[in-house]
């Protein structure tokens, strides 16, 4: 059972990391858009 | 062609990616007149001409062709029937001879029974219709004369001449001057892009492109 758990946790970590990165980019883009207006 | 065709262009600008070729260029050309477009090399004379004849889209600004009697605007698809153009960047089919070139252009321009007209144009520019050497064998002068022949083949109300005198011998240049004068008498609108001092004199109106 534990290897399944292992894979799941790794996938969750990857997903969290991806989400954080994209979220940060989203924030930065919003700031750039504010600058332009 | 009955009444002539008026050409109007205002606030024309053209940019190739980051390089602005010209900006805010306006002007008009009337039937029976010669609009001379001057400017140092690289100022965009040829680009402007390509835009005016509809082969290139301007980044900004408008180009309009109006029937001089009534002022109705001619739609873009019908422009091509109104235009004749001589330009260094436009050449003819090098594997066809002079007559074949003209016959082909006459046919695709929808001219009927154009054989006589083709021969007449050839003779008027000083080329012998009987000679069947292909255009690749032509001297640059003969090539230039054939280009002028095709430009007046369908008797267009608007004529664009981009450095028309280049490669012409002195006799050719005199003949060219007569041609331009003759076109003006027939109420044609001539747009001339040149740096040649003599050709500039033919212009009744001028648009100077900044360097």
């Amino acid at each position: 059972m534990n290897d399944l758990l292992g894979i799941m946790l790794v996938t969750l970590i990857i997903w969290a990391g991806l989400f954080a990165y994209v979220y940060r980019v989203d924030r930065k883009v919003r700031r750039l858009e504010m600058e332009d207006l | 062609m009955s009444g002539g065709v008026r050409l109007e262009f205002d606030d024309l600008a053209k940019r190739f990616d980051l390089r602005v070729v010209f900006r805010a260029v306006s002007g008009a050309a009337e039937p029976g007149e010669v609009l001379a477009i001057t400017g140092p090399n690289g100022s965009g004379k040829s680009t402007l001409l390509t835009i005016l004849c509809g082969l290139l889209r301007a980044t900004r600004g408008t180009v309009r062709y109006l029937l001089s009697d009534g002022g109705a605007e001619i739609p873009r698809e019908l422009w091509r029937k109104q235009l004749g153009i001589v330009a260094p960047s436009m050449s003819l089919y090098e594997n066809l001879d002079a007559l074949e070139n003209l016959r082909f252009l006459a046919l695709v321009r929808g001219m009927r029974q154009s054989e006589a007209r083709c021969r007449e144009c050839l003779e008027s520019v000083g080329l012998d219709p009987a000679r069947s050497t292909i255009v690749r064998g032509f001297s640059t002068g003969m090539h230039q004369r054939l280009k002028i022949a095709q430009a007046i083949l369908h008797d267009p109300p608007v004529l664009f001449l981009d450095e028309p005198g280049s490669n012409l011998d002195p006799a050719g240049q005199d003949w060219l001057e007569e041609l331009v004068a003759d076109q003006r008498e027939h109420g044609k609108t001539v747009v001339l892009a040149t740096n040649d001092r003599r050709e500039m004199e033919w212009g009744t109106r001028r648009v100077a492109l900044p360097g």
């Binding site: 399944l4 758990l5 894979i7 799941m8 996938t11 969750l12 997903w15 969290a16 989400f19 994209v22 979220y23 980019v25 989203d26 883009v29 750039l32 858009e33 332009d36 | 600008a13 940019r15 190739f16 990616d17 980051l18 602005v20 900006r23 889209r57 980044t59 900004r60």
Partner: protein, 220 residues
Amino acid sequence: MGTVLRWVLFVWMAVIIWAAFYYAPAASGFQGQSSRIVFFHVPTAWVATLAFLVSCIASIRYLRSRDPKEDIRASVAGALGLTFAILATVTGSIFARIMWGSYWNWDPRETSITFLLLIYAAYFALRAAIADPERRATMSAVYAILAFVTVPFLVFVVPRIYWSLHPDTIINTQGRIKMDSRMFQVLMGSLVGFTGVFSWLYSLECRVEGIRRRRQHEVL
């Protein structure tokens, strides 16, 4: 995409990942748990197709309105479509490896995705080959529509070529693994999740491209 929606997406996908491993049972007829890749392979293929659709609609709209924003949408959808098509092909070959023991054997689904991959590759090869932004936009829009017209022919061709090109391969004939209800729910949930991720990335990248083009064109 409001901020709340983003967090909902985050939680949704986390739940999907958990469900894919624990909520859904392993499909029968497989070596152990490896069938769970279906929850990640099918959505990527679905998003690649969806992105192609979005790219084609934006291309048609560009040709009508000549509005650069449509060109941005078409190219961004294309870029995402290419990424997901690659993901789908990779997960597909792993999936084939599990199901039939060979990495690649022109299974109907694989052919459609590979076909899509070829089209995206060609689309970007064309975009790279044209310098003038306006001409690039028009030519790539025309190509996208040409490819769009060809896809249905392949979708209808695929079942036929599957039998005629390889009549002799002894692959599980029904081609579809049996789905019990829980697996089906997780798969649908995963589809929704991936579509959410796609639309977020899509709108984000459109905005980024918009800013880049605006910055670049300050000159005129």
